[in-house]
């Protein structure tokens, strides 16, 4: 791979926990605790993991919608953490986000036309009203909605259609990268497949890169070229998506894959049932964060954090089993 479009290196985001009347800092929630990955042009990188593992925080930190605590984010080779506000705003044109809840993320008082024009106005694109209208119509066609509905409000659309509007808004400014945070999680399966196919088509047409965040493994596997599996703020395994599925290395990846119910009554997958709950990211276990729930836990796992290693070309894992 030539130099990746997006390179994330050791990204951290810690939220302070404040206590008492003085609001003193009593601890840190290590929401993202050292995440590294790359996304090439036209590539989809999937970020998967269970609720609270830090996927959304990672996505938002990359766009600096929230300020990262540490790490490097290189976009087109430029360290965007060093950019000042104005420069960052320009950069946002190239990196857009699509949110999970298609309703909450669209302003209910704006028409679809206003929603799509807003980012163009912010970035001073398509100067004249007629040009903008033309672009709005074009965008709606692109995402498979009729341009004749541009003067309607979000509540007049179904969930899948609203998600299309969210995608159209992200496309309005011609980005290179879209971070899609659970873009199909709120949708029914028949509509979910429409949106997944749309994302796929747009990627091919526009050579877009995606960071695709979701908790549904089948969806992530379907759309991604490569996948990072997150647990408690860290990526524990990363690799090409078919390989990751066929031969998961990390015990957590193995458990996660085995837990997905197979939509075939005649297939029984052997299941690794994980004991206990996800620990709190405010107080992660010593050693390997996964060790209290791991079926292969060894002595060393209790005390020493595993190293992040490339075990095969393009295949990374953080686990003492592969020392």
């Amino acid at each position: 791979m030539s130099e990746a479009l997006l390179q994330v290196r050791n990204l951290k985001k810690h939220f302070p926990i404040r206590k008492g009347v003085m609001r003193r800092i009593a601890g840190q929630v290590r929401a993202v605790d050292g995440v590294s990955f790359e996304v090439g042009a036209g590539e989809t990188f999937g970020l998967v993991g269970e609720s609270g593992c830090g996927k959304s925080t990672a996505g938002r930190s990359i766009l600096r919608l929230i300020e990262p605590t540490a790490g490097q984010i290189l976009f087109g080779g430029k360290d965007i953490r060093k950019l000042r506000k104005g420069q960052m705003r320009l950069m946002r044109r190239e990196m857009q986000i699509v949110f999970q809840d298609p309703y909450a993320s669209l302003n209910p008082r704006y028409t679809v036309r206003q929603i799509l024009e807003e980012p163009m106005i912010i970035h001073s694109l398509f100067g004249s009203p007629t040009e903008r209208q033309k672009r709005v119509a074009e965008l709606l066609e692109t995402v498979g909605l009729s341009a004749s509905r541009m003067d309607r409000y979000p509540h007049e659309f179904s969930g899948g259609q609203r998600q299309r509007i969210g995608i159209a808004r992200a496309l309005a400014v011609d980005p290179k990268l879209i971070i899609a945070d659970e873009p199909v999680s709120a949708l029914d399966v028949s509509v979910q497949s429409q949106v997944l196919n749309l994302l796929d088509d747009l990627q091919k047409q526009l050579n877009l890169s995606y960071v695709f965040i979701a908790h549904d493994l089948s969806v992530v596997k379907h759309i991604s070229d490569r996948i990072g599996v997150m647990y408690l703020g860290q990526i524990v395994e990363l690799g090409e998506s078919d390989q990751l599925y066929e031969n998961p290395l990390h015990p957590y990846t193995q458990a996660l894959l085995s837990a997905v119910p197979v939509p075939d009554p005649e297939v029984r997958r052997e299941r690794i049932i994980l004991q206990g709950d996800l620990p709190s990211p405010a107080n992660p276990p010593k050693g390997c964060y996964f060790h209290p729930r791991c079926k292969d836990c060894m002595e060393v796992c209790r005390t020493q954090a595993p190293e992040w290693k490339e075990v095969k070309p393009g295949r990374f894992v953080g686990c003492h089993l592969y020392d």
Partner: protein, 326 residues
């Protein structure tokens, strides 16, 4: 042998700005003793309304307009509230999608589990407390004695759902209605809960009505399946038939639009369009506008549930014409 639960011709409507509109219409199905029946379908197709109708827990603007619900041969439609209360939580128990909203935040876990035991079984405080601890152990909660003294907000989502199951199990119900019991949970926690439900069902010969939109969960848990679309049952049959020989074009579309872990990347098929809303239901088949096989007949007349085989039915004219759909 007659079924444990027999629902026939059930129509439930809600009062809206345009009068009473049916949310479910002419719903028919039965659940045998010891069987798990899955009810699947997309958001808004009437799965929850069906279960709330059985439990007689509809909101005040909703009412059962037609039909019958027989539980062990006893008619539940029109049953007095006091009699229904004896059945609810005792013979039929229900667990909901969001465990937090169905647990009372100001009462301790142990007390909430014990409540139905005091009401239905006349246990005293001491006895019901002890039984609550036993039930927490049954559903696999560690440190059951301590947890019984906790408030719901101190528990994780998975633990709360276990508590809900413990409450549902308290009186050894004959039928458990589980409305999306794992939808709000992570897959690894879902695997724990499904495992638990399977174990309890086998131990207690309980029947389960499992509502879900996840076809993986259906394949794994259910003996028979009812597929609903826009308020109607469109197909029902044994789980193997539904997955191997889906007959209604909606079921076929649903099964082929899910991404599967074992598949290599390929384009998903999808069902074009959207579900019609209850205000503007089409005259003929409700799926016609999205159906690749629709004919004029489908637009004009609604098919009834037609037999594909003895215990497999589909609401589709294709069955009528060819015996089986394309």
């Amino acid at each position: 042998m007659s079924a444990l639960l027999e629902v026939s011709g059930l129509t439930t409507s809600f009062l809206t700005a345009s009068g009473y509109l049916p949310a479910i219409e002419d719903v028919n199905f039965a659940i045998e003793k010891g069987e798990t029946l899955g009810i699947v379908g997309e958001s808004g197709c009437g799965k929850s309304v069906t279960s709330l109708s059985i439990m007689q827990l509809l909101s005040s603007n909703g009412k059962i307009q037609k039909g019958s619900i027989l539980f062990e041969g006893k008619q539940l439609v029109g049953l007095k509230d006091t009699s229904m209360r004896k059945i609810r939580g005792n013979d039929i128990a229900m667990i909901f999608q969001e465990p937090m909203t169905s647990l009372n935040p100001v009462h301790k876990i142990g007390k909430q589990i014990g409540e139905s035991l005091r009401i239905h079984r006349g246990l005293n405080k001491e006895q019901s407390k002890q039984k609550a601890v036993d039930l927490l152990k049954l559903v696999g909660i560690p440190r059951a004695e301590d947890i019984a003294d906790e408030y719901p907000h101190r528990l994780s989502g998975g633990m709360r759902q276990r508590v809900m199951i413990a409450i549902a199990m308290a009186c050894d119900p004959k039928l458990l209605i589980a409305d999306e019991p794992t939808t709000a949970l992570d897959v690894t926690i879902q695997a724990q809960i499904l495992d638990l439900m399977r174990k309890l069902k086998a131990e207690r010969e309980m029947s389960i009505m499992l509502i879900t939109h996840d076809l993986g969960v259906v394949a794994e848990m259910c003996d028979r399946v009812v597929v609903m679309y826009a308020g109607k049952v469109v197909e029902q049959g044994d789980v193997r038939d539904i997955f191997r020989k889906p007959t209604h074009p909606y079921t076929i579309g649903l099964l082929s639009s899910i991404p599967r872990l074992e598949d290599r990347q390929q384009r998903l098929s999808s069902i074009p369009g959207n579900v019609p809303s209850i205000e503007v239901m089409p005259a003929g088949c409700r799926f016609a506008s999205r159906c690749p096989h629709a004919t004029q007949r489908c637009a004009d007349d609604e098919p009834s549930l037609l037999s594909v085989t003895d215990n497999h039915q589909a609401r589709c004219w294709l069955v009528d014409e060819k015996g089986v759909a394309v």
